[in-house]
Amino acid sequence: MKSVIFRTVAPFLTSLMTLFSIFVLLRGHNEPGGGFIGGLIAVSGLAIYGIAHGVETVRHAIYFHPLAIAGAGLFAATVAGLISLYAHVPFMTGLWIYPSFFGVEMPLSTVMLFDTGVYLVVVGSISSVALSLEERGGE
């Protein structure tokens, strides 16, 4: 795209959206948000970056193949479900631990790992489709 303003703003916009998407992912358990919506926001950010600077730049920026990201997400989600088997509770039962870092209690759970998996699958799958469409669109 030719617009200089858009090209200049796009990286900042994408970084902000990605950051925001992670924020939405993490707050999801108690307030509106979650892995799915967070993933969609991140994909929108990537799409903006792609429109501004071309697909190659985006592929370079995310380093991994989008489908590899999606695969990792699916794997993480499955692992999150399997962990509960080790605690002798049914598959996919949420497990929580509360380690404290520097006096601050930090709730961690398999549920969060699962939601992160959802996030990665959404980011990976949809950006893979969007990027490949964009790539050939110009021909």
Binding site: H29, L67, A70, V111, V121, V122, G124
Partner: protein, 786 residues
Amino acid sequence: MDIAALTFLALGLPFVAALVAPVLTRFLGHNAAWILALAPVAIFAHFLRYLPEIADGEIVTGGYAWIPSFNVSFSWLIDGLSLTFALLISGIGALIVLYSGGYLKGHPHQGRFFSFILMFMGSMQGLVLSDSFLMLFVFWELTSITSFLLIGFDHRREAARRAALQALVVTGGGGLLLLAGLLILWNVSGITQFSLLLSFGAELKESPFYLAALLLVLGGAFTKSAQFPFHFWLPNAMEAPTPVSAYLHSATMVKAGVYLLMRLNPVLGGTPEWQVLLPLFGVATLVSGAALAVRQTDLKLMLAYTTMASLGLLVLLTGLGSPHAIEAAALYLVAHALFKGALFMVAGIIDHETGARDLTKLGGLRSAMPLTFAIALAAALSMGGLPPFFGFLAKEEIYEALSSFDRRSVVFAGLTILGNALMFAVAFAIALKPFLGSKVETPRHAHEAPVLLWLGPAILALKGLSIASMSGLAHRLISSPMSSAIAGEPRAVTTSLAPHIGVPLLLSAVTLLVGVAFYLNLDRLRAAMAVILADIGWGPDRGFDQFIRGLLRLAVAVTRRLQSGKLDVYMTVVFVLVAVVLLATPAHFGELPRAPFFAADVPTHELAIMAIAVAGLLAVVMAADRLTAIVSLGIQGFAVAVIFLLYGAPDLSFTQFMIETLSVVVLALVMTRLRLSPSDRRPLHQKLPDSMIALACGFGFGLFLLRATGTPFDATLTDFYNLYSKSVAHGANVVNVIIVDFRGTDTLGEIAVVMITGLAILSLVRLRAGSLKRGADDRQDVEERA
């Protein structure tokens, strides 16, 4: 460790050995056989410990719960029948592993071969020891699959691939019949274990489902045990390396069907249907197998057809069901496993050492291979039923069973003598012709086989001799318990080598004379058989090909019909169906909404938002080009998102916003990909049907939603989630907690679908015009072959 746990380990050990086999072979080469053979030897030793107990008439069962909710267990049943089989499988298995060490020495995939054959051993062992129906079925199909792998071991040859596939289709398909049969037995009796079924009594035989169950079980048994007319896969399976033929296709797997019949004899046997069907198929298989064996000159094929004949004989005897017939079946089964295994291995040795296995291209090997000659002769004497070999005892017992003088027995006895005489001729053709006469030049210079090769057949041949000479002990430990298990009541086998004058001996002598006559005129017989077969000109083997071709043609025709390959056809079908379901179903059941209702006081801002949505839709319809239409569709979507927000569903609204944004982006990208013309320039009469379908769908959804919201709201679930979301799942956002915790497994499935869809779209996008064309060529290819 208790003996039950050890039995469990014994069931698993072959699979463990199969796992380590490739690594071991990489380090030790063909000598890995010595170590790998320890697995079956250990199993053999384990089962030997059961012998005294079983000989005293005990039945040992054991196992673990598998799927308790379906009453399915992983359990085993050890009685005379399954113990004999287990000993044969592990004993011959050990010898076969050693033999394969020599036979495939230096083969690049020897490790893989060991792995396959050990997996097969584990499956076969599981099959015969299974107590639960489902376990039997699983192992049954596992033997089919491992046999597929073994037959197709040399997968670069077309013939091997075809034979492997054929065996899989026939025996695997039979396995499905067997499953159906077992399910009927389960339904009628409510029992899932053989050990309990055996004491269930005569009720099964009187059930109206008896015949159906019997036919299905016979379908499984006859395909596995290569009964006429399902025999054709067995000779084709000779494409496999010889150790496989010796093990699977003579000693063990093909006996699985016979095993099943013997196992079910007390439950299903003794009825008129049983006593007609089994002997008929058995005797047809016996005679046709023996006749086809005479026709061949290839050592392995001759043996394969005699195996088929022997299986027929076993089915015949099991079907007759008289005490002597059962005992004869027990004796002959063991004897056959020993002599046929040995003969196959001899054929393999000849092939391996001379490079030829055609009878007409072999001769005068006696001086080069004296040991092999001796082994072959010993095995052939047993197969021919001559004293002092085990085969003689079996044959005496067979004739004892057939020597009552009613009309049926006379016919069966006559046909059995014919079949046995033909087998006698074939046995000695294999044991004598390659070794006697003048020396024939062979592709490889003949010399005696190495120890790994001759050890197996030598032991088997010697066993045939030693069992016969110690018949008392053998009967007490093996034959009597086995006959008792088949008969379902205590039996004692007494036959021995001691001379006893009677009808059986006379019939034996007749067989011997006719057999010698056949042997002397073998070439003339072969020519006659060739003429007969050429006159028939059609066989089940060709029938199989025709069947597969027909199936392919049908599949292509159906696919052509249903899959036009045109996107607009698919879309039209889908949406017409949606409209019909939405409109016709409620109309039929009188479930249409009473009347469209409008809330009395809708706030102005809500009305405004709805107006925006409508305006968006109008813009879509009136848009001059497609890109505008896509963007306008977004207007309507955003308006809906705002409505969600107003009604207190921030998550939903949030998602809707993102989805709308991304859809516009993706749709716009797709537009550019598809190279559509910028606007829809079709004439009205083409647009009209599509818009009618669209209207019908929209109208249907509207009615559906009105009806759904018209029903009183059941708040049970809402209350449940509100109550437990924070206390159990530690989350205040109920929607998210439902997605990731309460219904997490659903979500896992959904994200898997998302990922697969992503993969599918990616591959579609990557498809180029050229590769599409190649797909079409492939399809043409299939048709041409069909």
